[in-house]
C-alpha cells in the first residue's frame, strides 16, 4: 500500500538547495562543447554565403585542399542525398531535404550566412584562411525579407517546388507561402454584431534572435568501428542523433551524441547545424574535428524567431465582455518552412473566453535564416497585438485593464479557438495575485510615466522522458536522465526523486546521460523538463519503492507485501517497526541483488502556463528612450520545485521580452544582408538597462502531475512587449504598432502625433 502525499506539504519541494553542478560551473571546470579536446583534433571553419539569395554555379575548393595544414574540405556534393522525406523529430516534423539544405547549401543559397563549404585544418586560423581560398560562383537572385512582400505573386521564389499546404491540400502554383492555417469558433458575423465596441489594428514585429551567449559548437569523431561520436551544444541529444543520422544517411545506432554542458538555447539549439558537418569532416580526415561558430555566424545563420505582420480585430459589449475576435497572421519562416505559425494562431486569443473567433495564419519563406523556436514560439508576437487591443477596449469603455482581464480570463472549460477545452488553469489566480500585489497597489507619479499590464500563455508540453535510478551501498541514489541541463534541471529532478523517497536532494546524484546510456528523452524545450522528466524521476522512485516493499516483505519482515506500508514521508513500516529509505536500501543491498528502478513516461497534455506582468516606464520625449522603472512578473508554476530557479526562469524570460520590446531587431542592408550581426549592434539588454525583476509565483496545481508541477520556462517572454506598449501608451497617449519600440521609432511617432495634434 502506498500513501500518496496529496496534502501539498513537502520536505524537499519548495526548498532551495545548491545545484549539483554548481561547483563545476563557478570554478571553470564544467565542460561545454568548445572545451572538449581530443587527441589529434582538427579545427573546422565554415565558408558562408555573402549574398541573400543566389544560385550556386560552381565551387572550386582546389586551392583550399592544397593549403598546408588542411585535412579535409567538403561541400553539399560530399553529403548523401536524403530525398524528399518528412522525419518526425519528437518536438516537430521536418522535411529532410530542407534540414540537409540548411546544413550545407545545395543548388541555392537562401540567406546571407548560409553554409556553403567547410574546411578542417590543424588550427582555426589555417582553416579560416584556407576557406577564404574557396571560389564560389553565384548567380545572384532578387531577394525578399518582408513577409508581406514574399506573399505577393510576383515575389522572388525561394523554392520553385514549394506549394502552399492548406491542411493537406496543395496550391496549384509554387509559392513562398508554405502553410495556410484556418480556425473558427462560433459565428464571427453574429459575434461582431453583438459588440458595442470593436477595435482593429495592424501590427508588425522584427526578427529577433534567441541570443544565447554560447555559440553553437560540435565535435565529431568518426570512429574506426564505424560509429560517429558527437559532442555538441544541443537542447536534445536524441533529436541531434536522429537529425545527424538522417542527414548523413547512416543508422541511428551508429551515432552516439554526448550532450555537453550547454550555454543557453531558448529553442535555438534543437535543429542541427554543425553536427553532420563535423561528422563528415571527421570521416574524410580520419581525425576528430571541432567547429565553433563565430558570433556573426550565430546571428546570420541560426535562429531567429519569425518577424511578423498581424491584423487583429476584437469586439466587446459595453460591459467589457469580449465577444468576438478575428486575426490574420503572417509569420516569416526564413529560408525553409517554419513551425511557429500554428502556435501563433492557437495563442492569439488563448488568454480569454471569446465565444466567436476566426484566425488565419500563414507561414512564409523569406531570405533569412530558417526560423527556429524561441521561448513560447509564436506567442509573443500575437500577445503584443491582442493585449493592446484589450487595453484599448477597456480605455474606451472606461474600465480598468485588470478588471476587463478578470472578467474575460480563460478558465477551466474555456474552449480555445483550435477546439480543446482548458483543464483547471491559473490565469484568474495570477490576475488576483496582481490585484493584491504591492506593485499594483502602489501609485506611479510624475509626467511621462505610465503603468501597463499584459497576460500571456504557453502550452508547455509533455513528450517522452526516461529515468533510471540505481541505489548505492549507503542508500544514496544515482539518477540517470536524458534531459540536457540548461538551467538547473538536474537539481529540480533530483528534488522530485528525493521527495518521493524521503531522502535529501544531496542524497541524489543526478547525471545527464548520452544517447547510448539513457532511454529516449525528448528535447529540453517546451517547458517540459521539470514536468515530464520530473514525472519520470517520480515514477522511477515509485518503481523502486514497489520493489522494496516486496523485498522487505520477503527479506526483512517475512510477511506479505500488503502488510508493508509505505508512509507518505517515504518510511517503510510493518506493524510497529519502521525503516527509512536509506536504512532499508542499505539492508537490502547486503542481502540480495542490487536495486535498480526505471521509468519511461510520455505525458501528453499541455501543462498550460499562464502569467501576468505589470511594468512601470518613463519616456524621454526628446529622445524616445523608454526607461523601465519597475517590473513584476506573476506566473502559475503549479508547484515551484526549486523556487529560485522558477524565479530565474520568470526573470530571464521577462528580460528577453523586454529586449524584444525595446531594442532587439535585425537590420538589413539594401541587398538584404544582415547589418548588425554582433552583440554590439544587436543590443540585448545589459545589466544597466534594467531594474530588479520582482516575481510572484502562483501555485494552482496541475492535475496531470503528482506534485502539480507546470512548465514555467516559456510563458514569461510572452507579456513584456505588450505590457511595455500599454505602459508607453499610458505615459504618452501613443499606441505602438511595431516591435521593437526603439527610441527613433517612438520619438518619430511622438513627433508626428504632436504636429498632427
Amino acid at each position: 500500500m502506498i500513501k500518496n502525499n496529496g496534502n501539498g506539504e513537502y520536505r524537499v519541494l519548495g526548498t532551495r538547495p545548491v545545484r549539483h553542478d554548481g561547483a563545476d560551473k563557478v570554478t571553470g571546470k564544467a565542460v561545454y562543447t568548445a572545451d572538449v579536446q581530443l587527441p589529434g583534433m582538427l579545427r573546422g571553419f565554415i565558408l558562408r554565403s555573402p549574398i541573400a539569395h543566389g544560385r550556386i554555379k560552381s565551387i572550386d575548393t582546389s586551392a583550399a585542399k592544397t593549403t598546408p595544414g588542411v585535412h579535409a574540405v567538403i561541400t553539399s556534393a560530399d553529403m548523401p542525398d536524403v530525398g524528399d522525406k518528412v522525419a518526425d523529430l519528437g518536438e516537430g516534423a521536418v522535411n529532410l531535404k530542407y534540414l540537409s539544405g540548411n546544413v550545407l547549401a545545395q543548388d541555392k543559397v537562401l540567406y546571407k550566412g548560409h553554409a556553403v563549404a567547410a574546411v578542417a585544418a590543424v588550427d582555426i586560423h589555417v582553416a579560416e584562411e584556407a576557406a577564404k581560398k574557396i571560389v564560389v560562383e553565384y548567380e545572384e537572385l532578387p531577394s525578399v525579407t518582408w513577409v508581406l512582400d514574399a506573399m505577393q505573386d510576383d515575389a522572388p521564389l525561394l523554392h520553385e517546388d514549394l506549394h502552399t499546404d492548406s491542411m493537406g491540400a496543395k496550391s496549384e502554383n509554387p509559392s513562398n507561402i508554405c502553410t495556410h492555417m484556418h480556425f473558427e469558433k462560433g459565428d464571427i458575423e453574429d459575434g461582431f454584431a453583438q459588440c458595442d465596441i470593436v477595435v482593429e489594428r495592424e501590427f508588425k514585429t522584427a526578427s529577433v534572435h534567441q541570443g544565447y551567449i554560447e555559440p553553437h559548437a560540435s565535435v565529431g569523431d568518426w570512429n574506426e568501428d564505424g560509429r560517429l561520436r558527437i559532442w555538441t551544444a544541443t537542447q536534445g541529444s536524441f533529436t541531434a542523433r536522429q537529425q545527424t543520422a538522417e542527414v548523413l544517411q547512416i543508422p541511428i545506432s551508429d551515432v552516439v551524441v554526448t550532450p555537453c554542458e550547454i550555454g543557453g538555447g531558448f529553442g535555438g539549439k534543437i535543429a542541427v547545424y554543425l553536427e553532420p558537418i563535423v561528422g563528415m569532416l571527421s570521416k574524410l580526415s580520419g581525425r576528430p574535428v571541432k567547429i565553433s561558430m563565430t558570433r556573426a555566424d550565430v546571428f546570420e545563420a541560426t535562429g531567429p524567431t519569425p518577424g511578423s505582420y498581424m491584423k487583429v480585430k476584437l469586439g466587446a459589449t459595453s460591459e467589457g465582455k469580449l465577444v468576438a475576435g478575428e486575426a490574420w497572421l503572417a509569420y516569416d519562416a526564413g529560408g525553409y518552412p517554419g513551425g511557429m505559425i500554428g502556435p501563433g494562431c492557437m495563442c492569439v486569443f488563448s488568454c480569454y473566453d471569446i465565444e466567436h473567433a476566426v484566425v488565419d495564419g500563414y507561414d512564409v519563406c523569406v531570405n533569412k535564416p530558417n526560423t527556429q523556436a524561441y521561448r513560447a514560439p509564436g506567442a509573443t508576437q500575437v500577445a503584443f497585438a491582442t493585449e493592446q487591443l484589450v487595453d484599448e477596449i477597456a480605455k474606451q469603455i472606461g474600465m480598468c485593464p485588470l478588471s476587463i482581464r478578470q472578467l474575460n480570463a480563460a478558465k477551466e472549460g474555456t474552449v480555445r479557438v483550435d477546439g480543446p477545452k482548458y483543464p483547471p488553469v491559473g490565469l484568474v489566480e495570477c490576475l488576483d495575485a496582481l490585484e493584491d500585489s504591492d506593485h499594483w497597489k502602489s501609485t506611479l507619479e510624475g509626467p511621462l510615466r505610465g503603468r501597463g499590464i499584459a497576460a500571456g500563455f504557453w502550452f508547455g508540453c509533455g513528450l517522452k522522458s526516461c529515468a533510471t535510478v540505481t541505489v548505492n551501498h549507503d542508500g544514496t541514489v544515482n539518477l540517470l536522465e536524458g534531459s540536457t541541463d540548461i538551467g538547473g534541471s538536474r537539481t529540480s529532478l533530483a528534488m522530485q526523486l528525493a521527495e518521493v523517497l524521503g531522502i535529501t536532494s544531496d542524497d541524489v546524484n543526478p547525471m545527464v546521460g548520452d544517447t547510448d546510456s539513457v532511454g529516449y528523452t525528448d528535447v529540453t524545450g517546451g517547458s517540459r523538463v521539470t514536468f515530464a522528466t520530473g514525472l519520470a524521476a517520480y515514477t522511477a522512485g515509485r518503481d523502486l519503492q514497489t520493489q522494496m516493499i516486496s523485498r522487505a516483505a520477503e527479506e526483512v519482515w517475512d510477511c506479505s507485501p500488503d502488510e508493508v506500508t509505505l508512509e507518505s514521508d517515504g518510511r517503510f513500516t510493518h506493524n510497529d517497526e519502521s525503516k527509512t529509505f536509506k536504512e532499508l536500501a542499505a539492508q537490502l543491498f547486503k542481502h540480495g541483488e542490487p536495486l535498480v528502478a526505471r521509468a519511461a513516461v510520455s505525458p501528453e497534455n499541455p501543462t498550460n502556463g499562464f502569467g501576468v506582468h505589470v511594468a512601470d516606464v518613463e519616456v524621454d520625449p526628446e529622445t524616445g528612450k523608454v526607461t523601465v522603472l519597475r517590473y513584476t512578473t506573476i506566473q502559475d508554476a503549479g508547484k515551484a520545485v526549486h523556487p529560485s530557479y522558477v524565479e530565474g526562469q520568470l526573470q530571464g524570460g521577462t528580460v528577453q521580452g523586454i529586449g524584444w520590446a525595446l531594442n532587439e531587431e535585425y537590420f538589413y542592408h539594401d541587398n538584404d544582408t544582415v547589418a548588425n550581426a554582433s552583440f554590439l549592434d544587436y543590443r540585448m539588454p545589459t545589466m544597466l538597462d534594467l531594474p530588479m525583476i520582482d516575481t510572484i509565483i502562483v501555485e494552482a496545481a496541475n492535475p496531470d502531475h503528482p506534485y502539480g508541477v507546470r512548465g514555467v520556462g516559456e510563458t514569461p517572454i510572452v507579456p513584456p512587449p505588450a505590457a511595455l506598449a500599454n505602459a508607453i501608451y499610458n505615459a504618452t497617449g501613443t499606441r505602438m504598432e511595431q516591435l521593437p519600440m526603439s527610441p527613433p521609432v517612438l520619438w518619430k511617432q511622438l513627433q508626428t502625433e504632436s504636429t498632427e495634434a
Partner: protein
C-alpha cells in the same frame, strides 16, 4: 586571423623607425580594443603589429597647474577617470573615458587610440576638442603639433603620415570658473556606439556670464566636429536654459549625419540639440558645485 609579426619598442625612435620601415603594413597597438577586432575581421591588414605600451612617453599622465594635462597616447581610459585630479579638471574627458565600451574595454582602450582610430562616433574626441587639446606627433622628420579638432580627416583616417606616431595629448590648464561635460545618446545604457554625442566646455566670467565656450559633436558627420558658431554664440551670454537651447539649435548647422541602423538624419540632428543643451547645463552645474 591572418598571421603577423610583433614588436614592442621601448623608445619613440625605435617605434618610428619600425613604422617608417613597414609603412602601411605596420599597425600600432595600444589598447588593442579596435585594432585587434579590425585585424581579426579583415577590416585592416598588418605584416607587423607595433605595441607602444612599453614607451614611457606614451603612458604618461601628468597634471600641472601651469601646463595642464599631458596624456600619453596609450594611457588607458580607466587611468583618466580613476585619477581624481584629472577627472575633476577635465570632466568631459572623464565622462567619455568612462563610457568607452564596458569596464574591461576601459582597462585597455586609450584616448590616443580612440583618436587614431578616427571613428566619426568616437566618444573621447569631442571632449578633446572641447578642451582644446593639442596632439604631439613624432615622426622620422621630427615632431609636430596638431589641434585635436584638425586630427581626423575622414572616417578611419587622420593626419598621421607614414612613420608618424601620436605620442601625447596636451590639454590646457583649467580654473574653477570652467567645466565641461560629454553625453552621448545610445539605445542601451552601456556597450553601444553613439547615435550622436556632444561635449561642451564653458568658462564663466566674473559677472557670471559665459566668457568662453567650446562645443564639439560626434557621430553626426564624417569626422568629429567643432561647433564654432554655437560656441561663439554663447560668449558674453548668460548661462540660461534658453541660451543653451539656442546653442543646441546652432550646433545643428555642423551636423551632416547619415541614415543608418543607428538612426536617421532627422533623429540625429534632433539629438544634437538635445545633447548640446544637456551637456551645457551639466557643465554649468559642475562649475556651480565646485565654485
Amino acid at each position: 586571423m591572418k598571421p603577423f609579426d610583433y614588436a614592442s619598442p621601448s623608445t619613440i625612435q625605435e617605434a618610428t623607425a619600425l613604422l617608417e620601415q613597414h609603412g602601411d603594413n605596420a599597425k600600432v597597438l595600444a589598447g588593442g580594443t579596435d585594432i585587434i577586432v579590425q585585424l581579426r575581421e579583415g577590416l585592416r591588414d598588418a605584416e607587423i603589429v607595433i605595441d607602444v605600451k612599453k614607451i614611457p612617453e606614451l603612458t604618461a599622465l601628468d597634471l600641472c597647474s601651469e601646463n595642464g594635462l599631458t596624456l600619453g597616447a596609450s594611457t588607458p581610459c580607466c587611468d583618466v577617470y580613476e585619477t581624481p585630479d584629472v577627472a575633476a579638471a577635465y570632466p568631459a574627458l572623464a565622462d567619455s573615458a568612462h563610457i568607452v565600451g564596458g569596464w574591461q574595454i576601459q582597462s585597455r582602450a586609450s584616448v590616443g587610440g580612440n583618436l587614431c582610430n578616427s571613428s566619426p562616433a568616437a566618444d573621447t574626441i569631442p571632449s578633446l576638442i572641447a578642451h582644446n587639446a593639442t596632439c604631439l606627433i613624432e615622426g622620422p622628420s621630427g615632431s609636430r603639433e596638431v589641434a585635436a579638432q584638425d586630427f581626423c580627416t575622414a572616417p578611419g583616417r587622420n593626419v598621421l603620415e607614414a612613420g608618424e606616431l601620436l605620442v601625447t595629448l596636451k590639454l590646457p590648464a583649467v580654473s574653477d570658473s570652467e567645466s565641461s561635460a560629454y553625453e552621448r545618446f545610445i539605445p542601451r545604457n552601456e556597450m553601444d556606439i553613439a547615435v550622436a554625442g556632444a561635449a561642451s566646455w564653458i568658462k564663466l566670467g566674473d559677472e557670471g556670464n559665459i566668457a568662453a565656450a567650446r562645443i564639439a559633436l560626434s557621430a553626426v558627420a564624417a569626422t568629429p566636429q567643432f561647433a564654432q558658431e554655437a560656441s561663439e554664440f554663447l560668449v558674453g551670454k548668460a548661462p540660461t536654459e534658453e541660451n543653451f537651447a539656442q546653442a543646441g539649435e546652432l550646433a545643428k548647422s555642423v551636423a551632416s549625419p547619415i541614415d543608418d541602423m543607428r538612426g536617421t538624419v532627422e533623429y540625429r540632428v534632433n539629438l544634437v540639440g538635445v545633447l548640446v543643451k544637456r551637456t551645457l547645463a551639466t557643465a554649468l552645474a559642475r562649475i556651480q558645485k565646485d565654485g
